[in-house]
């Protein structure tokens, strides 16, 4: 049910006005918002600060560039007893792939002559994936899906873990070392572009009484109290402005949890997660996932794997119109 209909029937104009326009726009597919954005996450680099200390490095000054990480990798590896330093958990959602590809200057999806095509066959995209693959092939990084990557980092088997801020609560509760986080690394002069993750709340009820109740529930969940509970429990970034500065809500929490501040600080680098368009969009995403696996296992170079995937993806999304 469109938000405008809910507001017209059951009120809530003042409530809507508390959201910044860019948050309202997240659920607008062209004819007005269809729900209220509830959660937003982005990938941060969690790290084991104890290993930094053991390596004689300042744990409060973790690198923010790819080159910076490469410089200190040997020292971190040695201090951890030869354990892999990096850990980029991934899955068929291509979330981390997009972070690498777009931060290296490539694009997952481009609009050309009014039709979508993938940008994965560009040199920039290949450079991004190859940078990741090289860490795996050289033993700097483990090659693990989400299911294995998270427990590996929690157990101290890797020094860092690049993963969603939404995993913060879970990881923080289980680690036995000094856990900290920094922003997703910058590649050369390219601006960091990391995909957002999350969800939104929408009302499907057809019965007016249920619609009104659901709309009230949505307003509660996205109220300052609702966002406070959600952020404290999981780690999703609150979408109401100033909550993290308000002592009545999240100011104390963020002060005690600087990791949360990292995700908030890099909100400006968040771009829309790429969902390949059309009825074959998910199959197209699978092609990109297979290319990632082929490059990380060394079966193919990133350029070859992405070129093959791009051909498959472009066939699957052919004819999907775009404006631009």
């Amino acid at each position: 049910m469109p938000v405008s209909d809910l507001v017209a029937a059951y009120g809530g104009e003042d409530y809507l006005a508390t959201f910044p326009q860019n948050v309202i726009d997240l659920t607008d597919l062209g004819s007005g918002p269809i729900g209220i954005a509830y959660s937003l996450s982005n990938p941060v680099v969690y790290y084991n600060a104890d290993v930094f200390t053991a390596a004689g490095l300042d744990p409060s000054a973790a690198p923010t560039t790819w080159e910076g990480w490469q410089e200190i990798e040997p020292a971190l590896s040695e201090a951890s007893g030869g354990k892999p330093v990096f850990n980029f958990g991934y899955g068929s959602d291509n979330w981390i792939l997009q972070a690498f590809v777009e931060s290296a200057g490539g694009r997952m999806l481009v609009c050309e002559n009014g039709e979508y095509r993938t940008g994965l066959d560009s040199a920039e995209a290949a450079a991004g994936l190859q940078a990741w693959a090289d860490t795996v092939l050289s033993g700097q990084s483990i090659n693990a899906g989400y299911n294995d990557a998270t427990p590996a980092f929690i157990a101290g088997e890797t020094v860092t873990y690049t993963y969603s801020i939404a995993g913060r609560g879970n990881i923080q509760d289980q680690v036995a070392y000094d856990l900290r986080a920094t922003t997703f690394p910058q590649f050369g002069e390219n601006p960091v572009r990391i995909p957002g993750g999350g969800n939104f709340l929408t009302v499907f009820a057809t019965d007016p009484a249920q619609q009104e109740a659901a709309w009230k529930w949505v307003q509660f969940l996205t109220s300052p109290e609702g966002f406070t509970a959600w952020t404290e429990g999981l780690g999703y970034v609150p979408l109401l402005p100033n909550l993290t500065e308000d002592p009545a809500y999240l100011a104390d929490f963020v002060a005690a949890n600087p990791i949360e501040q990292v995700a908030i600080d890099q909100l400006g680098s968040v771009v829309r997660w790429t969902s390949f368009p059309g009825p074959n969009g998910l199959a197209a995403g699978e092609a990109a996932f297979r290319a990632t696996q082929a490059a990380l296992s060394g079966e193919q170079t990133a350029a070859d794997a992405l070129a093959a995937a791009a051909e498959e993806i472009n066939t699957l999304i052919a004819g999907q119109a775009c404006a631009g």
Partner: protein, 307 residues
């Protein structure tokens, strides 16, 4: 006169009803099979000519488009090859190994057989996803994983077992076969125990022992059970390996553990393309139907059943 007519009518009616009785007996099973096997099969066949998704009721008719798309896809050959490859691994792990173990128990006492039977049957009763999670720990890609710890003792670097295109399929096969092996071992033991003692004693009296006894007496009498194990393995192999693939690899890395059965699931419930999933299902039914028909024909000539 009319009484005789009436008696004749009643007799005919009861005869007719009598003919109906067998159908009434099988009706409950028949209704269930029609409703839950043949009706979905017919609908799958129908869906294979349409494209759409699972939510939107609108579907467009594409004729044989889904079949040509699937068969023409570069992945199709890999899917067939990998399905066959996995089936071979299943024949080793779920037929050859348990049947050989069962034959080895011929040299044991009843108590010892019961012990091994209980030991090997344990994986069968554990929930499959729990089994997979236990194995996921064994296959962890870090030094903390069981297999990598063992490799470490030999000075080897840890391996990303489930992300290695050469190691992932054997790893997945190990898990699936470990799960079903105990059940097939139990079937094989039951088949061996069902061989009448007097046949074996008669063979002993005639001087048969060792390999000739097994080859000429035990194996032919065991053949119906062996055939049964072989058929349920062939039919169920791709089904049995579904859970470890779903939980651990999603068909990867780069399709290394994918097969026809998992591809159907992916098309239907990961990519939401029911038309393509239905076309693959029909292809799988035809392939398996042919395989099982050929198998029956082959064994019907060579297997002797005690009737």
């Amino acid at each position: 006169m009319s009484a005789a007519h009436s008696r004749e009518g009643t007799r005919r009616l009861s005869l007719r009803l009598g003919k109906l009785v067998p159908y009434l007996y099988i009706a409950p099973a028949l209704i269930v099979i029609l409703l839950f096997v043949y009706w979905p099969l017919a609908r799958t066949f129908q869906l294979s000519f349409y494209q759409g998704n699972l939510i939107n009721p609108f579907r467009s008719y594409v004729g044989l488009g889904n079949y040509t798309e699937m068969i023409g896809s570069s992945l199709f050959g890999d899917l067939i090859l990998q399905s066959l490859l996995y089936t071979v691994l299943a024949l080793i792990g779920s037929v050859l190994v348990p049947v050989s173990l069962a034959f080895l128990t011929l040299a044991l006492t009843e108590r010892e057989i019961d012990f091994y039977q209980s030991l090997l049957f344990v994986p069968t009763v554990i929930a499959f996803n729990v089994v997979v999670l236990i194995w996921a720990f064994f296959f962890l890609p870090t030094t903390g994983g069981l297999f990598n710890t063992i490799l470490g003792y030999f000075g080897q670097q840890p391996r990303a077992w489930m992300k290695d295109p050469l190691l992932a399929l054997p790893g997945i096969a190990l898990i699936a076969n470990w799960k079903v092996m105990g059940f097939h071992f139990l079937l094989a033991i039951a088949g061996l125990r069902a061989i009448p003692r007097e046949y074996l004693e008669a063979a002993y009296v005639d001087g048969a022992s060792g390999w000739p006894l097994i080859r000429r007496v035990v194996l032919p009498l065991f053949a119906p059970t062996g055939l049964f194990i072989l058929i349920i393995t062939l039919i169920g192999a791709l089904d049995a390996v579904f859970t470890p693939i779903r939980v651990m690899t999603e068909g990867g890395p780069n399709n290394a553990t994918n097969n026809l059965m998992y591809a159907i699931y992916s098309e239907g419930f990961r990519f939401f393309r029911p038309g393509q999933a239905s076309a693959l299902s029909i292809i799988l039914i035809i392939l398996f139907g042919g395989l099982i028909y050929w198998q029956y024909r082959l064994f019907d000539r060579n297997v002797t059943y005690e009737r």
